[in-house]
Structures are given as C-alpha cells and as structure tokens.
Amino acid sequence: MALWREVMVNGRAWLSVTAIASLLGAGVALALPMVLGAAIDAIVTGADVTALVVLAAGLVGLSVLVDLGGAYVTASGVAGTTAWLRLRLVRHLLALSPANLGRFANGDLVTRVSGNAAEAAQAGPSTVGAVAASIPPLGSLVLLVLIDLWAAAALLGGLAVSALVLRAFARHTTHAAAGYQLAQGAIAARLSEAMTGIRTIAASGTAAFEAKRILEPLPELAAQGKRMWHVLARTSAQASLAGPVVVVSVLAVAGWGVASGRVSPGELFAASRYAAVGAGLGGLTGVLGVLSRARSALARVQEPLRQPVLGYGSRDVGPGSGQLEFRHVTVESLLHNVNLTVQGGSFVAVTGRSGAGKSIFAELVARLRDPCSGDILLDGIPLRDLSEHSLRRAIGCAFDRPQLVGRTVGDSISNDVAGAHAMQVHAFLSRLPQGYDTPLAETPLSGGERQRLGLARMWGANRVLVLDDAMSSLDAVNHMRVAQRLEDDSRTRIVVTNKASLAARADLVVWLDDGKVRAAAPHAVLWHDPRYRAVLQ
C-alpha cells in the first residue's frame, strides 16, 4: 500500500528510535533472568556477586531508560504523524471538487480525520511492535530449551491448556452484553424523544413525570448489568487459574532437574521467569490486532486521498461587467450542449422541474464543477483559467442549505456588516448574546436565518451573484426585502428558483428542461405557456 510506505517514510526518524528501543528492551528482558540466576548461584556457592549485581542493575537501568525514551519518542512521533495525516487529509478534502466530495457522508469524513488518522499513524510502531513483541516469548522458549528441554515442553503444554480456557471466555461475554445494551438503548431512546419536546416539558413543569417515564427500564438495566458481572466472574475465575498452572508446571519439571543435578537453583529461578515471559505468547494476538486495525485505518484514510482535486488557473478577470457565456457546455447525462450568453448586469432566473439541471447550471457558473466538454466564460475568459483568488472575488454563490464556517458567527460572513444589512440578517446578529462575536457553535440558527447568513456571505462578490434556491426558507417579509435588494442591484444575478414572484422580477428566464435550455425569454412572455406555469409555484 502506497500510503503505508509514506507513513513509514514520514516517521523514519522516530520509528528507528522506536525499533532500537524495542529491540534493546527485548534483549534486556531475555538477559536479565540469566544474569539474576547466575547471581543467585554465586550467592549460593559463595562466589563474588558484586559484578553480577552491577550487571543486573545496569540491565535494569538500561531497560528503564529504553522503555522511557522509547515510549516518549513513539508517543510524540505518533502524535506528529497523526497530525501530518490529518492535515493532509483535510487539505485534500477541501480541494476536491464538491461533486467528488459528495460521495462521502460528513460523519464518515470526520471519523476518517479524527479516528482513522490516529489509528493509521500506529502503522509504523505496530509493525515494529509486532516484531519486537514476539522476541521475548520466543526467546524465552529458546532459552528454556537451553536450560532444560523438559521445562520447555511443560511451558508449551501449559500454554495449550490456557488457550482453551481463554477461548471459552471470549464466547461467553459477547452474549451477556446484548441484553444490557438493549435496556440501555431503551432509556436512551426515551430520553432523546423527550429532548425533542423539551420546551413543552419545561413550560408545563412535567420534568419529574418525564424522568420517571424515561427511567422505567432502569431496574432491567441494573439486572442485566449484574448478569454481565456474573458471566465475567465465571470466565475470569477460570482464566486466573491458567497463569499459575503454566508457571507451576515449568517449575515442577525444572525442580525435578534440580533434584537430579541437571539444573542449578539459579537456573530454576531463570526458568520460572522464562515461564512467566513465555506465557505472554498468547498476548501476541493483541499486537497483531493493532497491526490489522492500523492497516484498515490506512485504507480508510487513503480512499478520499485518491479523489482528484479541482485545480485553478492563474489568470485575472479581464475588464467587463460580468458577462457570462456558455459555449457548447455538456455535463455527462445532466446537461446537453448548452449555449447561452448572459449580459453583464442582468437579472436571470433559472427555472425548471426538479432534475432539469438547475443546480448543475449554478454549480457550473460558480465553478464548483467543470463541464465534461465546452467552456464557460466570464467577460471572455474561461472560468477554469482564472486564479482561485480572482474567481472567488468575482463570483459569489449562495445555497439552499448553506454550511457556515468560522469561529464566530461574524467570521462566517467575513464580518461583512454591509452584506448583513442588505440580506436582512444584521438585526438578528446584533441580538445574539455577543453580537457578531457569538461563537458559531453556540448560535442556534433556523433555516431562514442560515439562508440569510449564506446570502450575506455571497454579497461581497463584485461581478456575479449565484443563488441556488437560496431564499426558499425565508419568511415572507424577509423574502420581499431580499428580493427587492436583488432587483435593485447592478451585478449579474443568476437566481435558481421556481418561485413565480422571483422569476417575474428577472430580466430573463432560462427555462431548463431535461438538461437543455427549453426557452430563454422574459417571464411575461413565457407565462402564456401552461407548461411553464406548471413548473412554477
């Protein structure tokens, strides 16, 4: 996988520290019992023990240092690689053409950025870890063979027994959790239902009654919870027996060796330590689990990175008043060979049944997508040749469901007070707890308020305004005021709407049908066609 390699390359500096630390740590873990065993034998035989104790202390010190440094370098390296992946993903996603981005749900993308990127950054250390973690148990087995072949056999036998016990454990717990989750879900469902009527509940003082109603399944939850502990108790009691059985069986076999003189007391001690480390062989599956999680997380991060971005040209807009020209514009199965010229400064309504291609038309003018063939020109220059800066300064776009971005609600419209006044949202903004500086996340917005903010955000563009059904949620008074401001304006205005009142204000109505321009004429002319009237509301 390409991204796998990139992640490894990105973290190569800290990953090599991680690798060295893990290998050193594993080496120390294997050497220490040997040294300690030799020290014990020295104590027993009365030889000088100081050198061995100094060696052991040195090994312990080294393992602590390695552990400490390795863990810190790894954790901070993972943090760095995570941030690198996240930034890359966010930048790429923002540069995609919106049509390409649309295939991912928002919650899904957030999970990729926050959860999956962090897991994917574990790819490096978990690869290193998988190798390093297998060294101590495997090494223990080898060293145990060197001490006493029979003791090694006892280790394997003990492991087989404990594996059987652990398998039974996994099967039991998953079953018990289901009943608990069911009861918990029942309470959550009642609570979230009540939250939809929270204003009613507060106004009628029925909170206590509601609490009683919501908490009805609580005794069931408690009963299911206790059942879970009982199941856990049974299985983990079995598991707690498995460890001693492994160690004791190795000790017994090695002890027999002591009696027959094959094994020294120090080696007996070392054998018992290797048995304890070797019992960790079963834990290796955990490391492999992290590895496979990192792998699938990487795949999830990579998928959106493969989508192509919407590039920009480098030209500035030329002189002009906002004339738009469609030349043989075709978008696969959505728009067919559209040819059209919109005079600079005119007010154009775009109408048509749903699915007729209105939103595609708006997206093309706002250059949120490129046509498959043909060109759209602003004052004689193809949109795709314009630089991002000059394109976005010239053309503004407002949507049916605008999504706002910014720390404060003012930021979301670049604190454009003139735009807020024009689009009737200034009064609303200045009544918020901190006015324009109210954090966006703490500003409850109705659909109409959101649309007016979306309109205010667009208002700063200097040549073309594109409104894609952007006034559909406005109440009548605000609708009237905004429509009036639009009518009085002198920029080119492309308004996608099926509202007759708006179409009536336009200089020209472009009537789209099945991806083609069915007619382009003033509203008063088209009005006589009953099929046109049927399109409008």
């Binding site: 014990i40 023990v49 052991a56 202390a57 602590v64 552990d67 400490l68 863990a71 810190y72 901070s76 943090a79 966010v90 540069a95 981005l101 957030v110 918990q184 009642r190 239902e193 009613t200 507060a202 106004a203 009628s204 029925t206 909170a207 109603r213 908490l215 408690a222 919870g225 502990w229 009982h230 108790a233 983990s236 009691a237 027996l241 001693p244 000790l251 017994a252 002890g255 027999w256 002591v258 009696a259 007996l268 001690f269 018992s272 949120l368 991002e388 800066h389 976005r392 503004g396 706002l404 971005v405 009064a427 109705s446 109409g448 955000r457 009548a476 008074v477 609708h479 009237m480 009005w527």
Partner: protein, 595 residues
C-alpha cells in the same frame, strides 16, 4: 462534588464487606507462593526429594483453585458495587437533561460517558483490590521467610508510589486537555468538511484548512504533553519495582551468612517478581489510565448534570398576565429583543402576535410562561400557562397517555370531547382510538400538532399560548382548532403563522425588531408600516398579479419546519395536512375577502 468523593461515598457498605471477605481465599495463593517455592527447593529438590518439591508446588495450584473460587465471588459482587453507581448516574443525566433545555449531549452522555464511568469504576476497584491482596499476601509471606527482606521491598515501594500519586494530578490535567482537544478537533473538522462546497464557493479553502490545522496541532501538542507525563509514571514504577531487587541481591551474601536458605531467597524473589511487581504495575497503569478516565469523565457528568433545586409548583387559577416595562436581551452585549414592553392580558383576551421570523415572538411566549426572565421590568402572571410550541411534543405511548399528559385525571368523555373540538377525530380513529399506540416517527408534523393541541385544550391552565402551534395544519384545520380555543373563553395568545389566524384576534401585537405595536386592526393599518406590508403580501393587491399571488410562504412565520413526511402523506390525506408554508390561493382570497 469532587468525583473522588462521589466515588467513595457511593461504595455500598455491605457489598464492600462481601468483596473484602471473598478476597480472603485469594490471599491463600498470594501468601503461599513464595513459601511453597522456598520449601519445594529447600526440602524437596535440593534435599533430593523431588516428590516433596512437586507436592509443595501442587499446593500452590490447589491454593490458586481456592483463590479462583474467591475471585469468582468477588467479581459477582462487583456488580452490587458498580451498578448502583451507574443507576445513580443514569438518573442524574436524565434529570439534568430535562432541567437544562440547551443540553444537546445528554444522549451521548447516557450511552457513552456513563458506560466509561461504569467500566473504569469497576476497573479501579479491581486493580486496587488486587494490589491490596498482593501486598498483604507478600508481606505476610515475607514476614514468615525473613522480616528483614520486608524492609527492602516496602521502603522503595512507598517512595515510588508516593511519587506516582504526586504525578496523578498533572496527568489528570493533561488528559482533560487531550479530551477537550479531541472534542474540539471533531467539531471543527466536522464544520469545515461539511462546508467543503461552501468553502470552495467562497474561496476560503486556506482559512478553513487553517481553522482545522490549529485544532489538529493543538491535539498533537496535548498528546505529546500526555506522553511526557506518562514517562514520569514509568520512572516511578521502575524505582518501586527494581530497587528492591538490587537491594536483595547486594545483601545476598550477608543474608545467607545470617542463615537464609537458597529456597528462601528464591521464595522472596517470587514474592517480589510474581506477586508485588505485576500488582504494582497494574495498580499504576490502572490508576493512571482508567482511574484518570474515571475522574475526568465523572467530573464532566457531575458538572453538566447538576439539577437546580426544583421549585414546588402551586396551581394558579387566575387568567391575567401583565408585562410592565419589560426589557429582554440574550446577553449583555446583545441588542435587546424588547425594550420596555408593556402588555396586559385580561381574562378571556385573545391576542395575536405577528412579525418576521427571528424577531422575538417565541421569546415573548417564553417570558409569559416563565421560561425566561426579563433583564428589567416585571412579568406578573396570575394563572398557570400552557405553551404549545411549533415543534409539537408527542411521545411513544397510547393516544390517551399523550392527550392526558397535562391532565392525568381527565375522563374518557372529556378526552373525546377535546378530540372532537380540536378536529382530531379522524386522526385518533386512525390511530385506534384513545388506547391506540403512537409512534412519533410515523406521524407527520401536522398530526403531531393536532395531538399537542388536543392536550392543551384538555388541560385546565387558564392561559393558553400557541407558539405557531398550528403552522403545519392547513388553514381550515387551523381555523377549527383556534375556534375551539376561542369558544373555551380562556386567555389566548396566538403567535400567528398566517394572516388568517391573526385576523381572528381582536387585538394584534406587531413586532418588527425595533418596536412593538399593539392595537386593533384598524389602528395598525393606519400607523404600522410592517402591518401594512404583511397585509399587502397576502391582500387583494396581490391577487391582481397572477405571478405574485402564487408566491408561497408562511406569511408571518419562518417556514423552516417543512416536514417531508407531511408532503409525502399529502396523497393519502388530501387537503388535510399541508406542508408548512403551502398557503393556497383560496386562503389568500379568503383573507382578502374577510377584511
């Protein structure tokens, strides 16, 4: 209350005692393991009696089996300790959510955070108990082997543990930061990515990426800080775990000279390496990970779910409301929604409130029924209010449960009368009568409103506030419902969604965001420009222009609550439920004609 104090105070005495008593069997292997190794080596393997050695080791397995029986009982009792705490937290979260109208995270808190506390609380009890068992077992065993060795182990352990506990506060702060950074990152990236199209359209790609980048880097910094603290923790563990070993080995010669056998040294090392060290490691990682997670999560739950003292509610039977010089704003830096508003409602009054959306109509309703308090001025209400908001509240249960929600004692006859008066008969019949089950998701917004209106009609509060409570009904159904309330003669305030609804009230309050204008239709037509605008939008002037008369829109309110379900059902119930804002031409004509 601090989370620690909360956790300790919630430990039930009886289950805790049971837990401790059932820990006694587990002490058996903990005490025996070192002694058994010592005896097995000294009396068995080294003495040339391997069978004796194996017998001693076999004793460890038997002791472990007895210990396993104990640990099973211990875990069974864990539920008795943990589940009551979880019960209490669930209740707190639910009560807290119901008390705080702005709380949007309650369901997540219930499903995720309470579970985290449950698991970590159990984890804390388990590691602490296991540590105590290991310590008591090792100490007892070492005492019988060589009391001198005890000092070697206990002294460094105390120093290491103390240092570790000192780092916990710092760790908690780091974890708190990290959790907050994670929440912020998720929120920011959610906002930025959901707005990718808008970001492209406004050319704000760099700004949006910068917003996300700031939180991404903050989270990375928080993670690094956390890693630094956990390095400190490793150091504390290393000290407590490994210093005793060096001490025992260094003094090994003198110990043997004082008569300690090889087996006894091996036994002591067994206590150290197989009993004490793993328990210490688990305790430290338990406290450092799940302990802190417990602390931080519980802290958050207790903080958010604090319920203010409930006031005893007295039944008030008056029917007047008096607003005097009421000024209200949503914050000290906000423009006021009302400035010195005077409004007086007499028994049986019928008032309509009109104005553009977002101008403060719902705020007025909230002030009257006491959900909000004025910044200055007084609100005196002598009777109970029933407020039916735009988003009608219907819950899973029977029709009767829903309708008698505010009057549990209502009789069958009274309920049926209310259903008939409001015009919900057809709906209730379809649902299977009063005993029929309601599944809120299967009702359209308009159907929900009919249920809520019936509920308000049935209850006995003398003041009724309808806050766009009929906006999803068609004009005919709206008229039926409103007229039912008018016939009851209760004090009625209608925040009107359509002009037709405002026309039914003798008095109208016009809110335009700057001033409030109260009067009859004639006065207002003369002096209020907004009132004239609103009439113009729906009046006969428009009927002459075919295009504009077709303009839809809820004329007075914000038609945000368009309910796709309602539209989808239009085919089945023709003319009954209409999506919000779909005012028909007949409706406009009627409005024109009625003037």
């Amino acid at each position: 209350m601090s989370p620690l104090r909360y956790g300790l105070s919630r430990l039930g005495r009886r289950p805790l005692l049971g837990l401790l008593l059932w820990s006694l069997p587990e002490l058996l292997p903990a005490v025996l393991m070192g002694i058994a190794v010592a005896r097995a080596v000294d009396d068995g393997f080294l003495a040339g009696r391997p069978l004796t050695g194996v017998a001693w080791l076999g004793a460890v397995v038997v002791a472990s089996a007895i210990g396993a029986v104990g640990s099973r009982q211990v875990l069974r009792r864990l539920g008795d300790l943990v589940e009551p705490v979880r019960d209490d937290l669930v209740q707190r979260v639910v009560r807290g959510a119901l008390a705080d109208q702005t709380d949007t995270g309650a369901v997540t808190r219930l499903a995720r955070q309470v579970e985290v506390v449950r698991d970590t609380f159990a984890g804390l009890i388990v590691v602490t108990r296991a540590f105590l068992v290991a310590i008591v077992g090792s100490v007892a065993g070492l005492l019988s082997l060589s009391p001198r060795l005890l000092v070697f182990i206990v002294a460094p352990a105390i120093v290491g543990l103390a240092a570790f506990l000192a780092t916990l506060k710092l760790s908690a702060a780091r974890i708190r930061e990290s959790v907050r950074a994670e929440e912020r990152l998720a929120a920011t990236s959610g906002m930025v990515l959901s707005a990718a199209r808008d970001v492209a359209a406004t050319g704000k790609g760099a700004y949006a990426a910068e917003l996300a980048a700031a939180d991404i880097m903050r989270q990375a910094a928080a993670d690094r800080a956390q890693a630094a603290v956990s390095a400190l923790r490793t150091l504390c563990y290393a000290f407590a775990a490994w210093v005793p070993l060096s001490l025992i080995l260094l003094s090994g010669r003198s110990l043997v000279r004082d008569g300690l056998s090889v087996g006894e040294i091996l036994g002591a090392l067994t206590y150290l390496l197989a009993g004490f060290q793993p328990a210490l490691g688990k305790l430290m990682s338990g406290l450092g990970n799940s302990g802190l997670k417990f602390l931080v999560t519980l802290e958050r739950i207790l903080e958010v779910s604090a319920v203010p003292e409930a006031k005893a509610k007295r039944v008030k039977t008056g029917a007047t409301a008096e607003l005097s010089k009421v000024t209200f704003s949503y914050g000290p830096h906000a423009q006021p929604v009302f400035t010195e508003l005077d409004l007086s409602l007499r028994p049986g009054d019928h008032l309509a409130v009109i104005g553009p959306s977002g101008i403060g109509k719902s705020t007025l309703a909230s002030l009257v029924c006491g959900l909000l308090r004025p910044v200055s001025g007084t609100v005196t209400v002598t009777g109970d209010c029933v407020l039916i908001p735009q988003e009608a509240y219907v819950f899973t249960g029977t029709v009767a449960d829903n309708i008698c929600y505010l009057r549990q004692s209502a009789t069958f006859k009274q309920s049926l009368a209310a259903i008939r008066a409001v015009g919900a008969t057809e709906l209730v019949d379809r649902l299977g009568g009063l005993a029929g089950q309601i599944t809120p998701a299967s009702l359209s917004a308009g159907e929900k409103q009919l249920i809520a209106l019936t509920r308000a009609y049935l209850c006995r509060a003398p003041i009724v506030l309808l806050d766009e409570a009929t906006c999803h009904l068609d004009p005919v159904a709206e008229r039926t419902a409103e007229e039912a309330f008018m016939r009851q003669g209760r004090t009625l305030v209608v925040i009107a969604h359509r002009v037709s609804s405002a026309m039914r009230a003798p008095r109208v309050l016009v809110l335009d965001g700057v001033s409030a204008d109260l009067g009859g239709h004639g006065d207002l037509a003369e002096r209020s420009a907004l009132y004239r605008d609103l009439m113009l939008l729906s009046g006969p002037a428009l009927l002459s222009d075919p295009a504009r008369s077709l303009d839809p829109a809820g004329l007075l309110g914000d038609p945000d609550g368009f309910d796709p379900g309602a539209a989808a059902r239009l085919g089945q119930h023709t003319g009954k439920m209409i999506a919000n804002g779909a005012v028909t031409q007949e409706e406009l004509r009627r409005d024109g004609a009625s003037r």
